[in-house]
Every structure is written in C-alpha cells, then in structure tokens.
C-alpha cells in the first residue's frame, strides 16, 4: 500500500500524519514542540512508526510549518511547503464547498479565501502574535485553568466582559482590572475570546470577503469559546474538520502525493531510522562583513546538513 507522510513543525506543536492514496489517515501524532523541534520530530517519527500497518510503504514525505526547513533536512523530505498552501489543500479536501478558511495556530493566524476550489487571496497576522494560541495558553495558565477547559468556561458566560483585543499586553491589563473588580471568570474568558476574534477581524481578515462555508482549523479550533465568538461575529456556521489540529500535516501529505505522481521519482525519505540519528544543532557569528549574522547549522555524524540565518546566501551552500 502506498502511503504519504506529512510533517508540520509549528512553533508550539509538532504534527505528523500518514495518509494512504485515498487520503485516509493511517497514523498520526500531535506533540508539544517545547522549543526542541529536533527531538520532537524524532519522537513523532517513532510514534508514527508504531502505528503504521505492516504493508504500508512510504512513497513521499513533505514538511510544512515554521520549522519546515529544519524538518525537511532531517528526514530528507521530497517536498518542503509553506503552511498556507498546505492548510488550503487540506481544507478543500475535508469540506469541498469551502470558501473561507480561518486558521489560528500557536504563533500566527491566517485567513485563506477560496473560490471554485482555488485559493484567490490570503492574509496573515502582521507585526505581532497577538490573539494566537500562545496568548490564550498564557492567560489560561495565569488564571490557573487548563487550556482544554477554556472553552467550557467561555460557554457558561452570560454577560461577557469587554476586553481590549488590539494588543495582548493591553488585553492582559484589562483582564486583571476586570478580575479585580469582581467579574466572574466565565465572563472574562468569553470576553477574551470575543476580543481575539475582533482582533482577527480587524487585523488578519481586514478587507477580505468572508463567505460560507467557513472552515476553522488549527489548534485553537479545539476552543469552543472561540468557535462561539466567530459564530456570533460573522453570523455564519463554523465547520471544524475532524482533525483540525492535523490539517497542515494532512495538506502536506496530500501535496507530496500529487508531486510524486507528477514527478514519478522515488522518495528521498531516509526512513524511520532518522529517529536514531544524533543531530547536532549549533550556531556561530559570521564575521565576513559588518552584518555579523547569526548562522545556525544542523549536522549529523560530523557532516553539516544545512545552514541558515545569513543576510546573504554565503553559508546556505553546503556540499552534499
């Protein structure tokens, strides 16, 4: 059986999904990146390996997410794809009539506008990461509730508090102020959910024509409070696909299947043995010019696999 592996290395979580030729998920994993993508990719591969059926043959591997270049080098991927394209492809597969995709992840949020099965426009949060998953998680921690329970609290709210949503620093001081004035925690949490959606509307979705069906994916789509707030703000039904957190990885796997078909090549995937390789990540300051760029490199068995981080491409060329 031919299968395709998608690896989505996000800022907060690392996701892997293995699909067969009819895009059924055969194996998947969802891990916290914990600031250590190299180990998490290895651990993810281990877990997928345990789940895969015996007859499965890996015919293509793609990486996506902000850690896609690193992951691509580690596993020797056939395709390294940006997360916007991957998310769009996965959304169109799960909900064929989709016209708008909201994706809110750990560090960034996106909107993708689709018409007649083709992406025609997209937007991403600009300068700051206000109103993304990390912020919600931080606030949950501060209020001493689990992020998984965040949605339940929000749904119980009767009179949501008005929280400033433009900037997380303002939002936090607003929340503390409301909390000290005795607002119930439910109302503060739903108020925060509304603020996040308002910020999304003013920042990411500004000037975009939002038409149904609206698909909401990414880790934050687990949060029922945010779903309710989107529903109220945009007056439209919100579809959350069954594997909202895996959509990037699913899209990447679908894209590599397409690619390998067109290409006819064999996969370059190094195999699950990658999880046994010791990778060394290090960095140094390049002194070739006044820019003093910080170059980071990844190597295995004393051999440099790739380098990044320069203002010029001097270090990016690595002899194979």
């Amino acid at each position: 059986m031919k299968t395709y592996l998608g690896i989505d290395v996000g800022s907060v979580t690392t996701k892997l999904a293995l699909l067969d030729e009819s895009n059924e998920i055969l194996a998947s994993t969802y891990l916290q990146t914990q600031g250590n993508p190299v180990d998490m990719i290895k651990q993810g591969l281990e877990e997928v390996k345990k789940q895969i059926p015996l007859e499965a043959e890996i015919c293509g591997v793609a990486t996506t997410g902000s850690g896609r270049a690193l992951a691509g080098v580690m596993v020797s991927a056939d395709l390294v794809k940006n997360e916007i394209t991957a998310h769009a492809v996965a959304a169109m597969h799960c909900v064929p009539e989709v016209q708008t995709v909201f994706e809110i992840g750990g560090q960034d949020s996106k909107i993708i506008i689709i018409r007649d099965g083709v992406v025609i426009d997209f937007g991403m949060n600009s300068v700051c990461a206000a109103g993304t998953g990390s912020f919600l998680e931080h606030q949950a921690e501060r209020l001493n509730i689990k992020i998984e329970d965040f949605g339940e609290y929000a749904l119980r709210s009767k009179n949501p508090a008005r929280i400033a949503g433009r900037c997380t620093v303002f939002a936090e001081s607003d929340m503390i102020h409301k909390q000290q004035m005795g607002y119930p925690i439910d109302d503060i949490i739903y108020g925060l959910s509304q603020a996040l959606v308002r910020n999304y509307l003013n920042n990411v979705a500004l000037g975009k024509e939002i038409r149904p069906k609206l698909v909401f994916q990414g880790g934050v789509a687990f949060n029922k409070g945010i779903i309710k707030a989107i529903n109220e703000t945009f007056h439209t039904e919100v579809y959350v696909p069954p594997h909202n957190e895996l959509m990037g990885a699913i899209g990447a796997a679908m894209l590599v299947r397409e690619e390998m078909k067109n290409d006819g090549h064999r996969t370059k995937f190094k195999g699950f043995g990658v999880s046994q390789i010791e990778f060394q990540v290090s960095s140094f300051i390049c002194k070739a010019c006044p820019n003093l760029c910080e170059i980071s490199q990844i190597s295995a068995n004393g051999k440099v696999l790739a380098r990044w981080g320069g203002r010029c491409d001097m270090w990016e060329r690595v002899e194979k």
């Binding site: 992406v119 025609i120 300068v127 203002r311």
Partner: protein, 327 residues
C-alpha cells in the same frame, strides 16, 4: 578637492547618477556610503526618533557612517516634483532632521527642490549650491547640463533595458556591463513588485526579496522599467491628480502592470508609511477588480526572514495553482 558625501539610502536610488555628474563636473570628489549593513542600521536606530520609518533610520545611519570620510554631505530637501504634488514630510524635512539628530555631522548642503515654486526658484537654489564649489557661473551651467543628461540616460537605461537602478548605476558609474539581473532562463510566471526604490533595492532592509523571488522561478518587473510618460498617465487614470510625488511612480507602475496582465502584483512597503497606506489601496482595489493576485508586505526591523519567505512562497503557490502550473 572637496569630498561630497552621498548616503546610499532614500533618494540615492532615484538620483545618484545625476548628483554624481553634477558634483563631478564641478570638480568635487563624490564619496558614497557602503550598502546598508547591521552597523549602519544600528547607528541610525540609536539616533532616530521612534516614529520615523525604517528607511529614514537607515538614512541617518548612512550619514553617521560618512562622518570623517567627507567634507560635506548632500541632503536635498525634495519638497515637490510638480504642480500640486508634494513629498512625504520626512523627505521634505530630511536635512533639518539630520542636522538636529546628528550635530557632529559635517556641513550639509540642502538645496530645496520645489517645482511647485517654479523653475526660477529651482535654478536659484542649484546656482547657490554650485557656488560652494566654483565662482564661475558657466561651470555651474555645464554641471547642470551634465547632470540632466546623466539623469535622462539613467532613466532610459532602466526602462529600455529593463534593469534595476543598482545595475544601471553600476553600468553608468563603474563601467560594469555584465547583467546579473533576470538570469532566469524560463520563468514560470511574471510578478511585478511596486514600492519605494529605497525599499525595493535595499537588500538589507528587504532580506534579498527580489533575488528570493527570482530563485522561486518568477520573472520580476519593477517600477523603474516603465517609461516615465506611461507611469504618469497610468497614475492619472487611477486617481486623477495624485497628491504625493513619489507615489505617482508606485501606483502608476501598479496600474500599468495590472493593465498589462501580470500574473501577480506585490507591494513592498515599510511599517508606518503614510503615503503608501493611502495610495496603494487604490492599486489593491484595481487588482481585485481585474482579479489579479495582490500581496501587501509590510517590513520593519525584523531580523528573521521566515515570515517574509512564507508569504512569498504562498503567494507564488497561489498563482501557480490558479493557473495549474505544476512544478
């Protein structure tokens, strides 16, 4: 020989060959600062007031890097380039801002270029500038003529040959002929990039965006490759009488390339640019009307190029998948 320092920032990309010819004919030596680097940026940021835009901060850094290397620095105040059009206040006030923020700077020559006040005012100011170098009025006239000739040659070179300002400057001033631009043998798609020259051509500021796009398989079209008259006409068709001088080139190029059906249009802008925020939305609406993909990128002092690359890749993917070009 008097050494005239010219910062390689802001208006450099538009006017350097003209200035070089002018000062050269007057017998002065022209000293240009190095291309923007981390040291220059840090120098500029350490002095600038917080709410100026990044290109102005970079400009100040270039000025600081020229201290000790020249006897005077040329910072014209380009107020207006035509009837009822003006420049951004940061450009108009540039010499004064530079003087106030960098008191140790050598003497600044700051002729006001204000075509709103008519030709005579312009001649007067340039004559005054020339008098710093010679007392012979005929020499100044000759310098002006040389300057204008160089400027026309420079503009034509860019629009006729389809090359970037940096290349045209290399060819005009250093005699280099080899073109490195547009070496893509078979581009998959054509993308026009519009924005201020000091944003598009400063590779440090924009993280090598143009060469990244080319490496991704796109043929790049730039505002300087459009003939002057076509730019003016296109800008007028789009907004009537534009208020901002430099925005004419940006929105004119946007409209021109949209009409010529490019595959995609990218606006490269810096965070906090007032004129861009008003004028580029005209182009954006037009792109929507014509159903041509449009991407707005706002740059600031980010040191990581990750976010920029993701957006560029996604934009090109979007165009390719729309046209069913499979790679």
């Amino acid at each position: 020989m008097i050494r005239v320092g010219i910062p390689q920032a802001l208006l450099y990309y538009q006017y350097f060959p003209m200035w070089k010819a002018f000062f050269g004919t007057l017998g002065a030596e022209v000293v240009v600062s190095a291309p923007t680097n981390k040291t220059i940026l840090n120098l500029g940021v350490s002095r600038a007031v917080a709410d100026t835009c990044l290109p102005v901060k970079i400009f100040l850094g270039h000025v600081i890097s020229l201290i000790q290397k020249c006897d005077c620095i040329f910072v014209p105040a380009v107020t207006s380039l035509g009837k009822k059009t003006y420049n951004c206040s940061k450009i108009i006030g540039l010499p004064n801002m530079t003087r106030a923020l960098i008191p140790e700077c050598p003497i600044i020559f700051d002729p006001e270029i204000n075509l709103e006040k008519g030709r005579y005012y312009l001649y007067q100011n340039i004559y005054k500038l020339g008098r710093n170098f010679t007392s012979n009025p005929f020499k100044i006239k000759e310098a002006v003529e040389d300057a204008w000739k160089s400027n026309l040659a420079y503009q034509n070179k860019m629009s006729d040959k389809g090359i970037t300002p940096l290349e045209a400057i290399d060819r005009a001033c250093q005699g280099k002929q080899q073109s490195t631009f547009d070496s893509n043998p078979a581009p998959l798609l054509t993308v026009a990039v519009i924005g201020h020259p000091y944003v598009i051509y400063d590779d440090y500021l924009n993280h090598r965006m143009i060469s990244r796009l080319q490496a991704m398989g796109a043929k790049i079209l730039l505002p300087e490759m459009v003939p002057r008259s076509a730019l003016d006409a296109a800008a007028r068709r789009l907004v009537g009488e534009p208020h901002w001088s430099f925005e004419i080139d940006i929105i004119g190029a946007g409209e021109y390339y949209l009409e010529n059906k490019v595959d995609g249009l990218i606006n490269l802008s810096v965070f906090g640019c007032g004129p861009d925020s008003m004028m580029v939305s005209f182009v954006e609406h037009r792109a929507k009307e014509l159903k041509i993909p449009f991407l707005h990128l706002s740059l600031d002092e980010h040191t990581s190029e990750g976010g920029l690359v993701t957006r560029l890749e996604a934009f090109l993917d979007m165009i390719k998948r729309r046209q069913r070009i499979w790679v």
